[in-house]
Symmetry: C2
Subunit: 233 residues, 2 copies
């Protein structure tokens, strides 16, 4: 019998690895991405490629427009911060790329999708190592969401099922994530993690996610197969 699971898929390195992990654990992945007013569609193109080639049963792109509320680098015109090395990223502050309540909204949609397809499992690419500074990426937040979710649905109220949030990357470094993905046959050349890619989808190499990703591949000892604006940046 099929065991459906919702996988939040941005098309980046982390969520692509999570899709492979869900499949490896015997789940049938239903991928969910969002069109949320982000400035570029490169990441949605990557999500589509990943869903098609990495074994998702279905891929839904939900439209949500957070721009009606205003305020964040990812959805308005504030410039994306660029650095030369990982050390320059201020780990303890919340980045300007923070989008208000974004993960709460994303997980809420995942909850709706789970109920419709009869899934009781939701996979996310949240990590606690390489801490991103987003409050809604922490384990205590994820636990609280699961508690709330189990009170929100017909199945939860009737005691028939118990929704589970899986964060299989939570304790992994970027290098560990890459090693795990490679062992499961993930093709990282088709993923896109950059906050500020060019029109051809090539990564900038200097935003926070690019720096963390490049550091991860360097630790693994292989080149990142994804395209960059300055090869070898």
């Amino acid at each position: 019998m099929e065991r459906p699971a919702i996988v939040l898929l941005s098309g980046g390195l982390d969520s692509t690895t999570v899709l492979a992990i869900a499949r490896d654990q015997g789940f049938t992945p239903y991928a969910l991405s969002f069109r949320y007013g982000q400035r570029h569609s490169i990441e949605l193109q990557a999500a589509e490629r990943v869903a098609t080639t990495q074994g998702a049963a279905r891929h839904v792109v939900a439209d949500i427009d957070l721009r009606v509320f205003g305020g964040s680098a990812l959805t308005s015109d504030i410039s994306v911060p660029k650095h030369d090395s990982v050390e320059q990223i201020e780990a303890d502050t919340i980045p300007v790329t923070y989008v208000p309540a974004r993960n709460t909204i994303f997980l809420s949609f995942a909850l709706a999708y789970a109920e419709v397809v009869g899934a009781t499992d939701i996979f996310t690419g949240v990590t606690a190592v390489d801490f991103s500074g987003y409050p809604d990426c922490r384990p205590e937040y994820m636990d609280a969401f699961a508690t709330m979710a189990n009170l929100a649905t017909k199945a939860g109220v009737e005691g028939k099922t118990r929704l589970e949030l899986h964060s299989p990357l939570i304790d992994l470094s970027k290098a560990d994530i890459i090693r795990k993905g490679l062992s499961l046959g993930v093709d990282y050349s088709i993923t896109s993690s950059c906050y500020d890619p060019d029109a051809q989808g090539r990564a900038c190499g200097h935003c926070d996610t690019c720096l963390l990703r490049l550091k991860g591949f360097a630790e693994v000892g292989i080149d990142d197969p994804a395209p960059y604006q300055n090869a070898g940046a």
Copy 2:
């Protein structure tokens, strides 16, 4: 100093009363409605009328399309159940008008809006009396959402603020809600609660919400001033 509060506003009897209560408690109401694939725009027209005439500082309509997931009477083509009296509504079952994770999604957007306008208070029209059968309208669900929400935001993590969910109708019967609203000067003639109004916005008089609303006005001893398809139904 202004005390902003987010008010979830459907344009129905309950949320319109809540808007008046928030204003009466000294808050500046920021109204939030949703275009979520519902079959009629009558309720959004009502929300707009209410926001304009009942003292909202601003009214935002967020677009969310739950139809990508499928499955519910309010967002697809299953027919709305009709009855002749309140007694025929089966109180212990979850109605087919249930929309998966709807309140979780609505509250998530309220959370984003609250963060953007600097509000720490969110008002909803959830009631426990006249129990609607929706799992995500119960007090224990609301409490769990607030706990999660306080772990989700910059302000919550930094311990600067404490988000509060207000459900001022939670212990009130429909008649009590109407009495409260009338005492605050609410004009119920411009509200719309019906699941299945006609093109002119006139209520059907026989869906669950119409029956509960009519029973409430009957208990107060006055006629519902809103338009019905069969006057006096």
